[in-house]
Symmetry: C2
Subunit: 306 residues, 2 copies
């Protein structure tokens, strides 16, 4: 059995996969902030899930962790994970010491890409998935993709493969946290919407969509940028790596059908003016993982395989 | 011995590689226009080079052709090659019938990417070239890249991997031949410069550069767009597939040092305002193939391997 842990900014999700990669146990708990609390989230999740299936944590065939931030997957070191208060933390080594077995660590979007690949494989809908490739496009606080080609995660020569959120798309846009102007992430991400549509409610994304639906012109403009930005991400992923499947995930996808239909409307408009783009059938590449499917935790479990 | 043929819009270059992939014979001849002339260019080049090494063409271990256009590499069919007057031409089958052996056909930029990969490998400068990956960025009439990952050409699920020239980068730009507005190709390619700087001379690119160097403000603006466009291509290739090496090729690179230093100036400017981009060392990824190295023909020879 394999254990996968998705350490999120607020919640940690953990799953156990059986030998057929099916989820046989699952839990969600708060993450906490800083080294000690993040490590405790990982260790306590592992021990609790192990207990549920009647083993100790050192008996898992593999353990993998997905975490939002810059990770050295070769060493298990978290270089930076700003939202979790981590900076140069040897998460893999520390967790392994407490759990008594090797622990792999990976960026959470990359982990989710592996989980998404497993999910799409299991549906059998794309028989050439290996060679065609898949991208998992995360629309969370930021925008980033994880890319799986020939059945393997592509991290890239400096670990930034799929970081398309930092491709500038608007020369008149705002300065991004990366220092560039008008990055894709500044128009199509949770943080982009929170910046443009500050709210006292719990979700700027849902608030903005409700206001746009009610006819608010400012919200309508923000919504249009979001749809266009997601469509742009799909176009960039196609014209660079040409993956056949782009799986959408992350908090913004909780918008569901209105997001998908908005993005498809943009793509249809593009196809009308460009026979070339039309031939690429961008809309048909988009998939959405079912709500509550723990794709990043599943991917973390699979990445843990030695 | 392997034979590789690069069928260009005006010239056809052919090489023979020995068992160590070294070029042992080489020729250049005019291509001609239309099915019969293109096929004759291929057959006559093959027969002549075979004669030079004392064999008949059917004795080559493999024959491969690179050609500018949309190619079905599985069948050897050229779907479209506008500049050569080809439309739905079974080049692989026809050439094989005349030469008495199997003939592989590939898009010329993809072939050049394989040749560039071989070239960079042979210099031994990047010891992790396989996993780091390489892109060949062709600055010819158009702008497109060929991508080699894990030692293999990535064609993509619909054959458009590396077609970054059709990523729009200027919302106020001109309409591209693909139907979109402001594609990268409309600012950084031979055709982009010819459109913006029409000339009675033989080379709009060199004329424009000379005028810019002499202080012409319009030429200066076109030059700035060219430099920024090439830098943008390198950024896109890094933030999507994160290849460690981007090899520049194609007619526009005949500008040599002024092009390279102009692109590097743009990249340095970006690095100053973005620590993230600075950390990616984009300028250090750029390589140029020595002038007159027949990279596409060499790649075609290597692609011909069954």
């Amino acid at each position: 059995m394999r254990l996968g842990i998705d350490v999120g900014g607020t919640k940690t999700a953990a799953v156990i996969l059986d030998d057929n990669d099916a989820v046989v146990a699952e839990l969600i708990r708060p993450t906490g902030y800083g080294r000690d609390e993040v490590l405790a989230s990982v260790v306590e999740s592992s021990v609790e899930l192990a207990g549920r299936v009647g083993i100790t944590a050192d008996r898992f065939d593999s353990i993998g962790i997905g975490i939002p931030g810059a990770v050295n997957s070769a060493t298990g070191r978290v270089e930076h994970a700003v939202n979790l208060g981590l900076d140069g933390f040897e998460l893999g080594t520390e967790a392994a010491a407490q759990l008594g077995t090797r622990v792999a660590v990976e960026n959470d979007v990359n982990a989710a890409a592996v989980g998404a690949y497993r999910y799409v494989s299991s549906t059998g809908s794309d028989t050439a998935l290996g060679t065609d490739g898949l991208a998992y496009l995360n629309l969370g606080t930021g925008l980033a993709a994880g890319i799986v080609l020939d059945g393997h995660l592509r991290r890239g020569s400096s670990g930034v493969a799929g970081e398309i959120g930092h491709i500038p798309v608007d020369a008149t846009g705002v300065i991004c946290s990366c220092g560039q102007r008008g990055c894709l992430e500044t128009i199509a991400s949770g943080s982009a919407i929170a910046r443009q549509w500050p709210t006292t409610g719990t979700s700027p994304v849902h608030d903005m969509m409700a206001a746009a639906a009610a006819g608010d012109p400012v919200a309508g403009r923000i919504r249009a940028l979001l749809f266009e930005g997601v469509a742009t991400a799909v176009r960039i992923l196609t014209l660079s790596v040409d993956v056949r499947t782009v799986v959408l995930g992350g908090g913004v996808t909780s918008l569901g059908e209105p997001l998908l239909s908005g993005v498809n409307e943009v793509l249809d408009g593009w196809a009308e003016s460009s026979p070339f783009l039309a031939s690429l059938r961008l809309g048909e590449r988009i998939r959405v993982i079912p709500k509550n499917h723990p794709v990043a935790a599943v991917g973390a479990a699979l990445i843990g395989v030695p």
